[in-house]
Amino acid sequence: MTMTQKVLASHAGLDKVVAGQLIEANLDMVLGNDITAPVAINEMEKAGLNSVFSTTKISLVMDHFTPNKDIKAAEQCKKVREFARKHGIVNFFDVGEMGIEHALLPEKGIVKAGDCIIGADSHTCTYGALGAFSTGVGSTDMAAGMATGKAWFKVPGAIKFNLVGKFSENVSGKDLILHIIGKIGVDGALYKSMEFCGDGVANLTMDDRLCVANMAIEAGAKNGIFPVDEKTVAYMTKAGVTDYKVFTPDTDAEYDEEMTIDLAALKPTVSFPHLPENTKTLDEIGERIAIDQVVIGSCTNGWLSDLEVAAKVLNGKKVAKGMRCIIIPGTQQIYLDALRSGFIETFIEAGAVVSTPTCGPCLGGHTGILAAGERAVATTNRNFVGRMGHTESEVYLASPYVAANVALTGYLG
């Protein structure tokens, strides 16, 4: 069995599972946010399901349209807040405590190695970085999960990514995942697991791994998953986790495809509009593209190390005239750490703005919407038509290093 199949078998109470098998698995965590949880709550109420399976294994994070952008968004948060209070949900995170859900849950030690997790948010696959099976679902699955603690899954096959070597300077996890999506396409891993292994894994920071697993969905994958090593254990220990489980793939595990990637050969990579698979390396661009806005943040690249990279680039310099540079730390803790490290001061002195944690502009919600004809370079995860605003605007996906440099020059390429 693959690593994913082993986690699933263990949660389904089975000795063995095979790709294609339908199983029912016990859940360690069910997640929802201020957009998806209200739908789930409505569905639960409509179906007359009046209780939750656990008060500690449900997380509700108010991160998308918060601090509330309008009255309707406020009503949605109110609905979730009242539900959390009524059912005594321990992991309810409102403004002041909340961060972007996928940055917050690992940091708080709420998700861990060996867990089986669903979340009504497509980037729930992020927690695979910790060696968990974690996948995005919709609100009805979330409702069923909250009521029963179970979910149905079709056991996925897997693509094995054998990572070797070490990144060159200024290359990061974002470049790795954009490279992979460029190679296999936005449906290249449809219904499958992306399992990462090889000596190169040890050279990835936890922030790199979280970023890579986060965008597995952008290749259509069910989940992305990394092996547990010393770095994973150190990360979880810092988050106060003690009761994790380590699953390793069988030596004779079957994979649908295998691919070896030399990390040293990767270059800074950019996804052009309007699909994450439209990748070019910086040196392939061959033209100067005028950019109006830079966004550094999101569940993909709102980690402390991302802010550190951006601060190094922006230190003592000024954002280009006419450029709007928006920086969004992933969580309150990351914000505070960035503040204490002097990064926030650097950003403000450079002419960037710093926002409280929120998904905000990534999904065209608020705090940085684009007008017709405008272009943004963003460290976010999607560049679909209209994703950050007007349908005639454009989003280019890149790493914090590339994005911060664009903020200084006003141009990509």
Partner: protein, 159 residues
């Protein structure tokens, strides 16, 4: 169960951001969501769609965000069935879970044109379009049970 209607056809990688843009996600009311269905890719869809119509698309339909608002908006707009070359996995789950019939058939999805009238017989697993019949394998019993109960939560409630 039989669906019969006029086809609205789209290409590959239709993402949930164009099916229902995030700026409209401050509501979860199906009647409101349907007013914006497909807005960013086909501004006339809402005007043209009639109850019972069928949506046909290329590969990876419904990719991107997990928002269940996407199949909810499509269902509320009156679409009776979606036929695609392939579906993104979260959309696939969501559609089944809310009782919106979807069919994966690369042959039918490629052959059917916009504006055609298509008939789908879910029990026989047949799609009839322009004199051609396409057969599709039935859903596994587990999923048939969810569809029979009109969605996942009803299936759970009714055991």
């Amino acid at each position: 169960m039989i669906a019969n209607g006029k086809v609205h056809k789209y290409g590959d990688n239709i993402d949930t951001d164009v099916i229902i843009p995030a700026r409209h996600l401050n509501t979860s009311d199906p009647e409101e969501l349907k007013l914006y269905c497909m807005q960013d890719i086909d501004a006339d869809f809402v005007k043209n769609v009639k109850v019972g119509d069928i949506m046909v698309a290329g590969k990876n339909f419904g990719c991107g965000s997990s928002r269940e608002h996407a199949p909810i908006a499509i269902k509320a707009s009156g679409i009776s069935c979606i036929i695609a070359e392939s579906f993104a996995r979260i959309f696939y789950r969501n559609a089944i879970n809310i009782g919106l019939p979807i069919i994966e058939s690369p042959e039918a999805a490629r052959a059917i044109s916009a504006g055609e009238t298509v008939s789908v017989d879910f029990d026989k697993g047949e799609i009839i379009a322009g004199g051609q019949t396409f057969t599709v394998p039935p859903f596994p019993p587990f999923i048939q049970n969810i569809i029979k109960h009109g969605g996942l939560l009803n299936a759970i409630k009714n055991g």
